[in-house]
């Protein structure tokens, strides 16, 4: 049980308050977009985007431009190029994404090795620094979350139909290619904006784990999106509080809590499935 005095002390810190809000927003955003990403088998794509972000940061540092300004356009262009590559190359998407992310990681490390004066640690890039998040960062993430919610709510039917079958959606008048591209761009922007808080290595966990837990627990689509977003935001809050109390690294703490949430969802789904089988056979 957490010591109430220690908890109060942690919560009183302004940087911790910003980190908690940032974690809540980033986690909810990751869970929301993840709910479609995992159904469209884009989990590995988000991982590749995360790794490519390191290359974007490295190029920014190398060219003497603020990495934050480079990151979003870099991630969007990178995502669109990789999407074209996957569609046109006739090679399995997982193999191509593996090539892309390992190569971009290699280039990023080489680029960083050329920068002698880089003062940020590689650790910070890899695992994020959510405690260093500022109010402007929070405003950007909040606007992004509202935008993503509005877009997905208005196009929910289109998104679900094109996830099920591209031609079924197209015959229904859904501009399937446009929506696919729009989603990939949105995912790229979210990954780029979240990197500062979450880090290159852990960003895909924010997209994939809450959505997989939501997928196990939900039987209706809006509930699935809500569960994924709530799981993402809730796990981030618990993980950050745990990190603050134990002085352990924040990003990894959040991912460990997400994993615990996933295991819990797995157990609940197994119990539900067993109950349904027993009820059907009796």
């Amino acid at each position: 049980m957490a010591d109430p005095a220690a908890l109060t002390l942690v919560l009183a810190q302004p940087f911790m308050q910003r980190a908690l809000i940032g974690g809540l927003l980033t986690g909810a955003l990751g869970g929301l977009l993840g709910s479609f990403a995992v159904l469209r088998q884009l989990s590995f794509f988000s991982d590749a985007l995360g790794h490519s972000a390191l290359l974007g940061i490295s190029l920014g540092i190398l060219l003497g431009i603020n990495p934050t300004l480079v990151l979003v356009p870099f991630a969007v262009i990178f995502a669109l190029l990789v999407n074209q590559l996957v569609q046109r190359s006739r090679l399995p998407a997982d193999a191509l994404l593996n090539i892309v992310y390992s190569t971009s990681l290699a280039f990023a490390v080489v680029a960083l090795s050329l920068v002698e004066t880089y003062r940020g640690g590689i650790q910070q890039l890899l695992f994020g620094d959510i405690l260093g998040i500022g109010w402007p960062d929070l405003a950007v993430i909040a606007v992004l979350l509202l935008g993503a919610m509005a877009y997905l709510a208005l196009s929910l039917r289109a998104q679900v139909l094109l996830t099920l079958n591209n031609d079924l959606a197209g015959a229904f008048g859904v501009r399937a290619n446009w929506h696919r591209l729009a989603f990939i761009v949105l995912l790229a922007v979210v990954v780029a904006v979240s990197i500062k808080a979450v880090g290159v290595l852990l960003i895909s966990a924010f997209v994939v784990i809450p959505a997989c837990a939501g997928r196990l627990l939900s039987r209706r689509f809006p509930m699935y999106m809500l569960t994924s977003a709530t799981m993402g935001g809730g796990c981030a809050l618990v993980g950050l509080l745990g990190s603050g109390l134990t002085n352990l690294p924040s990003g990894p703490c959040v991912v460990i809590v997400q994993f615990a949430g996933f295991v819990l969802a797995l157990l609940v789904s197994q119990i539900n499935a067993h109950g349904a089988t027993t009820q059907a056979s009796s």
């Binding site: 088998q41 208005l154 099920l164 079958n165 079924l168 015959a171 229904f172 008048g173 209706r220």
Partner: protein, 267 residues
């Protein structure tokens, strides 16, 4: 069937489609009269699915025109929303790998609203009633709360028909909708399709490899192998000479009968 002088539901003229730089469909012309059932047959790789995709506006045309209910299909597949709302398409399969958290009733409900953006909370009693009626008419009344990914192949096909019947439509396009079904399920699906077609007055275009089903129930057959090799009533288009021309000389015409009670197929 209505008079043949009525305007066709679908009119295709000189349709040519290229895929990956190759000619996939070459100068195909045909019409679908109102409330008729037309089969599109041909060997694998003949361009059947490509033709269907092009006339629904899902693939660009190299040349030719497509008119649906009197409206010309635009170069990028544009059609008025009111026309799109009259078209239903049944694919071979859905991407349902693993657990897909979408209930049958939700999916069928997606078919009720007309095309275009929709607020998620715009769910009315009218929609709920239409979904329940569609599920009942397709024998899926007890499946409404099930997940789409929990259904058997036969159940899923019936739910796809419920998606089509949940609102009035004129044109139904099926791309090998019976693929993957065993003989009894395929026969059940076929009978349900026939019944709904009669009730709804659908004009049907179906890609099929089941020549016996085509012979029994379709009004018109289009034989495609990149070009339209022949077309006409089943007895003409599926004659041994025409089939040999379409599939090659080694294809032996195969007649079998389905018993409604057992669903058995006999060679």
């Amino acid at each position: 069937m209505s008079s043949s002088t009525a305007a066709p539901v679908l009119a295709v003229q000189g349709l040519t489609v290229e895929r990956d730089g190759l000619l996939a469909v070459d100068a195909v012309s045909f019409q679908l009269a109102r409330e008729t059932d037309t089969a599109l047959v041909g060997p694998n790789g003949a361009g059947k699915s490509t033709l269907v995709a092009a006339l629904l506006g899902l693939l660009p045309r190299a040349s030719g025109t497509v008119r649906i209910m009197g409206h010309a299909l635009g170069p990028a597949g544009q059609l008025p929303r009111s026309v799109r709302a009259q078209i239903a398409y049944l694919p071979q399969s859905l991407a349902l790998q693993g657990r897909f958290p979408l209930s049958v009733a939700e999916f069928v409900g997606f078919g009720f609203d007309p095309p275009g953006p929709r607020l998620p909370w715009a769910v009315g009693q009218r929609r709920h009633g239409a979904v329940q009626r569609a599920l009942e008419r397709t024998g899926c009344r007890d499946l409404g709360k099930r997940l789409l990914s929990e259904l058997s192949g036969g159940q899923l096909k019936r739910v796809l028909l419920a998606f089509c019947v949940v609102r009035p439509r004129q044109l139904l396009v099926l791309d090998e909708a019976q693929a993957g079904l065993d003989a009894p399920s395929s026969e059940q699906f076929h009978q349900l399709l026939l019944e709904l077609r009669r009730q709804e007055g659908w004009t049907v275009l179906q890609v099929s490899h089941d020549l016996e089903m085509v012979r029994r129930s379709c009004d018109q057959v289009l034989c495609l192998n990149r070009r339209l090799r022949c077309s006409g009533v089943p007895d003409y288009a599926l004659s041994p000479a025409r089939l040999a021309e379409l599939y090659g000389p080694n294809v032996v015409p195969y007649r079998h009968q389905h018993s409604p009670s057992s669903g058995d197929a006999h060679g």
